[in-house]
Symmetry: C2
DNA sequence: CCAATAGGTTCAATGAACAGACCAATGATG
DNA sequence: CATCATTGGTCTGTTCATTGAACCTATTGG
C-alpha cells in the first residue's frame, strides 16, 4: 500500500492486510478473481482500470501470495491469474464488506446475490449456509446470480455479459471459458 | 475514494463499500474508533497520519454516515468522533480482514486477541463466540488484549499505552478517558 | 503481407499524500 | 497581566501515485 513511511510499524494485523489488499484496485481485482476472471484483458475490460495500474496490482498480488500465475498457452507464453490458498481465504472479508456495501452504501441493495450451491439457500450475514449449518461456505460452493430487483448496469464486456446468468464462483469466465 | 471517473458505475456493492472505507487510512481510523479512540489528537498520535489527511478522512467518514461528531465540551467547542449504526456494522468485515492479516501477512501472528466479554472465550474465525453460540458477537461485548506471544511495538502514544492492558471495544480511551 | 490478439511498457499531466509551519480560541501558570 | 499549553485544525511546497493514451513485441489467421 506504500502508506507513507511508518505504515509497517503499525501494531495491527489489519494494517498488514491493508498493505496487501488495501491499494485502490486490489480488492476489486480479487473479487473478479473469485468471479472466475483469470486473464489480463478480462480484468482490464471488466474493471475499466488503466493498464499500467493493472500490471502493477497483479504483480503486487502475486508477490504477496494472493494470486499466482498459471500458464495456459506456450508460444506466445500466456498466463492467467488464479487465487492461491491465502487468496481464497479472502472470501470471508470480501463477502462481508460486500454485504455492508449493499446495506449501507448502495441505493436499492446489492447487484448480486450469493447462495449455497449444494442446497440453494442464500448465504447469511457471515457467509454461512442457514440451511446446512456449519461454518462459512467455501467459495467453490457458492453460486452468484444477479439480483432481480436491480436492473443491470450499463456495462458491456465479456465478464459482465457472462454474469447475467447464475455462475459458480471460481469457475473460469469469459475468454478463459472459450479456450483458443 | 475518487477512483478515477467510472468507479461509481461498478455494478458491485463492494465497490460502493470501498468508496466509503477503501481510502488509504479510512479503515485504520474506523479500527481505532472501535478501540475507543474519539479525539482528533488521539487518532493523530496513534496512527501517525498527516493532520490534513486525518481531517479529510474524518469528514468523509462523517459524510458517509460511518462516524458522527459528538460535542464533549463547549467553549471552546470540541467534539469526538463516534461510530454510527452503520459504522458499528463494519466490525464484521474489519475483524475478518484483521484475522486474515494475522494469518497471512504478519510474521508471528496478530498483536491483539479478541474474546467474548460475557464468557471469556476467544472469538472464532467469523467473530462468533464458540462457547455461547449464536451469531457474531457485537463489538460492545468484545474484549481485546495484547497477544502475549508478541512483544509490544515501539509505539508510544496514549492510545498504545492504554492498549497494553485488556480493553473493551468502544469504551473511550486515552484523552477521552481522562476528561478535563 | 497485413491485421488482429494478448499482454504488456513508456510517457506527460494530474491529483493526492506528506511533513512541517502556522493559526485561533480558551484556560492555566507565573 | 503576559505568557504558555491544549485542542483542532488550515496552508504550503514537495514528492509520489494514478490516469489515459500511445507505443511495443510475439504469434497466429486470412
Amino acid at each position: 500500500m506504500a502508506l507513507g513511511t511508518d505504515y509497517e510499524q503499525q501494531d495491527c494485523a489489519l494494517a498488514r492486510a491493508l498493505e496487501v489488499v488495501g491499494e485502490r484496485w486490489s480488492l476489486l481485482i480479487v473479487r473478479d478473481a473469485f468471479y472466475g476472471v483469470q486473464r489480463f484483458n478480462d480484468f482490464l475490460a471488466h474493471l475499466g482500470i488503466p493498464r499500467a495500474v493493472l500490471t502493477a496490482r497483479l504483480n503486487a498480488l502475486v508477490a504477496a501470495g494472493v494470486l499466482r500465475k498459471e500458464p495456459y498457452r506456450q508460444a506466445p507464453l500466456r498466463h492467467g491469474y488464479l487465487l492461491t490458498g491465502a487468496g481464497l481465504e479472502l472470501w470471508g472479508p470480501l463477502y462481508q464488506l460486500s454485504r455492508w456495501g449493499g446495506r449501507h452504501a448502495t441505493a436499492g441493495g446489492a447487484h448480486h446475490l450469493f447462495a449455497h450451491a449444494v442446497c440453494g439457500a442464500d448465504l447469511d450475514v457471515v457467509g454461512s449456509c442457514p440451511r446446512c449449518g456449519g461454518g462459512p461456505v467455501p467459495p467453490a460452493e457458492v453460486v452468484m446470480r444477479p439480483n432481480p430487483a436491480r436492473t443491470g448496469g450499463r456495462w458491456d464486456d465479456p465478464v459482465s455479459r457472462a454474469l447475467v446468468r447464475p455462475h459458480r464462483l471460481l469457475e473460469p469466465i469469459a475468454s478463459a471459458a472459450v479456450p483458443a
